[in-house]
C-alpha cells in the first residue's frame, strides 16, 4: 500500500500530464462534494425561474424545469463518479480473480479461461447492454446498472494481469514460497498481488472512464434510471426539452464540459501511469535524464 502512495507521489512530481490530471480530478471531486451543502433538493423543480442564462445568482443558469444547473450538476457528478467507482471496483474483483488464477494455474485452466476471456473482449457490449436495460427499464437502479456493466468490464484487464503473473510465477520467490508450503491462494494474494497492484490501479482508472462513458451513452438513450441526476441523465433531460433548439445551451454545456474535462484528466492519469509502469519507456526516460546531465 505504501508503495502505491509513493508511485502516486512520484507521478505527481515528475509527470506534467499527471499533475494536470490530478488537479482537475481533485477540483471535480470538490465540485461533487458541494452537493452536500446544496440549497436545493435535486428531485425538486420549478424553484427558480426557468431558462435563465448563467448569472451571479445561478452560475450555470437554470433548466427549463426551473432547476439550478450548477447545484444540479454537483449531484450529477457525484452520482456519476460513485457509479463509475462502484463499477470499476466490482469488475476489478472479476478481473483480478481471472487474471491471477489463469496466469498462475496455467495449462488447461488458463486456456479455457482465456478463450472465454477473449470472447468477452470481442463481444460488442453496447447492443447487449441496450437489450438488458431495455428489458429491465422499470426496475433499473444506478447500483443494478453498475453490477450489469461491471459484468462486461473485466476481460481486457484480466488479460493484462494474467500476463504479469505469467512472468512472476517463474521468479525465485514464488518457488521459495511454494516449497515452504504456502497454499496457492496465499502465494497469489500475499506474493503476487502486491506486484500487480500498480497495474490494477491503472486499469481501474481506465475502467472508471469506460463505465462513466457507458452510463452517459445508456442514459442518453433513456435506458438508465432517468429520475436520478447523473451526467448522462442531465443530457437526456436537456435533449427531452429540446434545450438546443430553444437556446438553453448552458443546460447542455455544463454536463458536456465537465465530462470532457473529467475524461481527459482520467485519461492523462492512465497514460502517465502506463508509461511509468512500462520498464522500457522508464529506461529511456532515465537515459534521457542521464544524457541531459552529461550535456
Amino acid at each position: 500500500m505504501r508503495s502505491l502512495v509513493r508511485i502516486i507521489a512520484d507521478l505527481y512530481r515528475y509527470d506534467g500530464r499527471c499533475r494536470f490530471g490530478f488537479t482537475v480530478i481533485l477540483l471535480i471531486v470538490i465540485f461533487a462534494l458541494l452537493s452536500f451543502i446544496s440549497p436545493y433538493d435535486p428531485g425538486y423543480s420549478y424553484y427558480a425561474a426557468p431558462n435563465m442564462p448563467p448569472s451571479r445568482q445561478h452560475f450555470f443558469g437554470t433548466t427549463s424545469r426551473g432547476q439550478d444547473v450548477f447545484w444540479l450538476m454537483t449531484f450529477a457528478v457525484r452520482n456519476s463518479l460513485t457509479f463509475g467507482v462502484t463499477t470499476a471496483l466490482l469488475s476489478r474483483i472479476i478481473a483480478v480473480f481471472v487474471g491471477l488464477t489463469a496466469g498462475y494455474k496455467g495449462g488447461m485452466v488458463d486456456r479455457i479461461m482465456m478463450v472465454i476471456n477473449d470472447s468477452f473482449v470481442v463481444l460488442p457490449v453496447l447492443p447487449l447492454l441496450i437489450l438488458i436495460n431495455f428489458i429491465m427499464k422499470g426496475v433499473m437502479t444506478l447500483f443494478r446498472l453498475a453490477v450489469i456493466i461491471s459484468l462486461f468490464g473485466w476481460p481486457w484487464d484480466a488479460r493484462l494481469i494474467r500476463s504479469q503473473v505469467l512472468s512472476l510465477k517463474e521468479r525465485e520467490f514464488t518457488f521459495t514460497s511454494r516449497f515452504s508450503g504456502s497454499r496457492t491462494s496465499r502465494v497469489l494474494l500475499t506474493e503476487h498481488l502486491p506486484f500487480v497492484m500498480p497495474i490494477i490501479l491503472s486499469t481501474t482508472i481506465n475502467n472508471l472512464l469506460w463505465a462513466i462513458g457507458m452510463e452517459v451513452t445508456l442514459a442518453v438513450l433513456g435506458l438508465s434510471n432517468i429520475s436520478i441526476p447523473t451526467i448522462g441523465t442531465t443530457i437526456y433531460w436537456a435533449n427531452q426539452h429540446q434545450a438546443l433548439i430553444s437556446g438553453v445551451w448552458w443546460w447542455l454545456a455544463a454536463p458536456v464540459g465537465i465530462s470532457v474535462l473529467l475524461f481527459i484528466a482520467l485519461y492523462l492519469l492512465v497514460v502517465g501511469l502506463g508509461e511509468y509502469l512500462d520498464p522500457r519507456t522508464r529506461l529511456q526516460r532515465m537515459k534521457g535524464v542521464l544524457s541531459d546531465e552529461r550535456a
Binding site: 500530464r17 478463450v115 472465454i116 477473449d118 470472447s119 468477452f120 473482449v121 470481442v122 463481444l123 460488442p124 457490449v125 453496447l126 447492443p127 447487449l128 441496450i130 437489450l131 438488458i132 431495455f134 428489458i135 429491465m136 427499464k137 422499470g138 426496475v139 472512464l209 462513458g213 452517459v216 451513452t217 442518453v220 438513450l221 433513456g222 435506458l223 443530457i235 438546443l244 447542455l252 458536456v256 465530462s259 470532457v260 475524461f263 481527459i264 482520467l266 485519461y267 492523462l268 497514460v271 512500462d278 522500457r280 519507456t281 529511456q284
Partner: protein, 336 residues
C-alpha cells in the same frame, strides 16, 4: 500449408463460433431471467394508448405475444427453437412496423453501419499508424508532441459527446453539414455526382467523429511501439550500415510494429462498433444504431433482440476476417 498454420486457422474459427455462442446465449437468457416481462411491458404499452380493451382480448394478446417472442414451453425447448429460428434467418416480425419482419429492417440498415464503420476504421487506423510511426521514429519533435497532445485530448472523449459536439458546432452553429440522415430526402440511389456528393456530405460528420477518437488511440499505441523497435539492435545496425531512414522506417520498423496493431484492430472492432451505433443515433444515420434507438423508443422488443444478435454475429465475423488476414503480414504463423 503447414500444420501450425492450419491449427492457427482452426483456433480462430473455434474462437469466433464461441463468441457467437456466448453472445447469443446471453441475449437468450436476459429476457428470461429478468425481473420484468417483455410481454407484460408490450401489453402495458398497448393499453396506455387509452382505448378500453376487453379482458379476453388482453389475454389473447398476451398469448399471441408469448408465442411470437418464443417464450412458451420449457427453457430447453425455447432455446432450441431460438437457435432454429436464427439459423433459418427468421427473427420474427417487428412490432413497431408490423408485419415487416425484423430481418428485412436489419437488412436495409446493415449496409449503412458496415460502410460507416469500415471507412472510418480504415481511415483512423491508417492515419493513426502512419503518424505514430513517424512520431516514434523521429523522436521528440515539435509537431509530434503537438499531435500527441491533441490525440490525448480527443481520444478519451466518449463517442456520444464527440458526435454531439460536432453536430452542434458544424450543423447548428455553423451550418455547413446536414443535421442528419444519409442522403437528401427524395434522392434515388445512383452513381451520379448529386447522389454521391449528398452521401458524402451526410456521412462526413459521423465518420469524422469516429475518426477523431480512433486516430488518437492508434497514434499513441504506434508511437510507443516504434520507439521500442527503434531501440533494437538490428535497427542500429542498419543505421550504421548506411541504410536510408526511409527504408529503415517503412521496411524494418513499421512492419514489425504494425503486427500488434493488427491484433489490436481485431480486438477493438467491438468497441468501434459500439461507437458507430451511438454516432448513428446522434446523426439519425439510418444504420443499426438508429434502428436500435427507434426500437427502444417504440418498445419493439423483437427488433432490439435482432439488432443485438446481428451485432454479435457481424462483429465476430469481422474479427475472424482480420485474424485470418493476419498471416499475410506475419509469415511466422505460416512457416513455424
Amino acid at each position: 500449408m503447414s500444420s501450425t498454420f492450419l491449427r492457427y486457422i482452426a483456433q480462430r474459427v473455434v474462437q469466433c463460433i464461441l463468441v457467437i455462442f456466448i453472445g447469443i446465449t446471453i441475449t437468450f437468457l436476459v429476457p428470461r431471467f429478468s425481473p420484468t416481462d417483455p410481454v407484460e411491458a408490450a401489453v402495458n404499452r398497448a393499453m396506455m394508448m387509452g382505448q378500453y380493451s376487453h379482458p379476453d382480448a388482453v389475454r389473447m394478446m398476451k398469448e399471441a405475444l408469448t408465442k411470437m417472442y418464443g417464450l412458451d414451453g420449457t427453457l430447453g425447448q425455447q432455446y432450441i427453437r431460438f437457435w432454429k429460428g436464427l439459423l433459418s434467418g427468421d427473427l420474427g416480425p417487428s412490432l413497431s412496423s408490423f408485419p415487416k419482419p425484423v430481418m428485412s429492417l436489419i437488412r436495409t440498415s446493415l449496409p449503412w453501419t458496415a460502410g460507416l464503420l469500415l471507412v472510418s476504421a480504415i481511415i483512423s487506423w491508417t492515419v493513426g499508424n502512419l503518424l505514430g510511426c513517424l512520431a516514434g521514429y523521429f523522436g521528440n519533435q515539435r509537431w509530434s508532441q503537438v499531435i500527441g497532445m491533441i490525440a490525448m485530448a480527443l481520444h478519451p472523449i466518449p463517442y456520444y459527446i464527440m458526435a454531439f459536439v460536432l453536430l452542434v458546432a458544424l450543423a447548428y452553429v455553423i451550418p455547413v453539414f446536414p443535421i442528419g440522415g444519409a442522403v437528401d430526402i427524395g434522392l434515388k440511389p445512383s452513381l451520379g455526382w448529386i447522389y454521391i456528393s449528398s452521401l458524402l456530405r451526410h456521412a462526413f460528420l459521423p465518420a469524422l467523429s469516429l475518426v477523431l477518437i480512433g486516430v488518437g488511440g492508434w497514434f499513441i499505441g504506434m508511437r510507443t511501439l516504434v520507439t521500442n523497435v527503434v531501440a533494437e539492435d538490428y535497427v542500429t545496425y542498419a543505421k550504421y550500415a548506411g541504410v536510408s531512414d526511409r527504408t529503415i522506417m517503412y521496411q524494418y520498423v513499421m512492419k514489425n510494429a504494425l503486427l500488434p496493431q493488427i491484433t489490436g484492430l481485431a480486438m477493438q472492432i467491438g468497441l468501434i462498433f459500439n461507437g458507430a451505433l451511438i454516432t448513428e443515433y446522434v446523426f439519425s444515420y439510418p444504420g443499426l444504431g438508429y434502428l436500435a434507438y427507434n426500437a427502444i423508443f417504440t418498445g419493439d422488443y423483437s427488433l432490439i433482440m435482432g439488432v443485438a444478435i446481428f451485432s454479435i454475429v457481424g462483429v465476430s465475423l469481422a474479427v475472424l476476417l482480420i485474424d485470418l488476414a493476419y498471416p499475410l503480414f506475419d509469415p511466422r504463423v505460416k512457416y513455424q
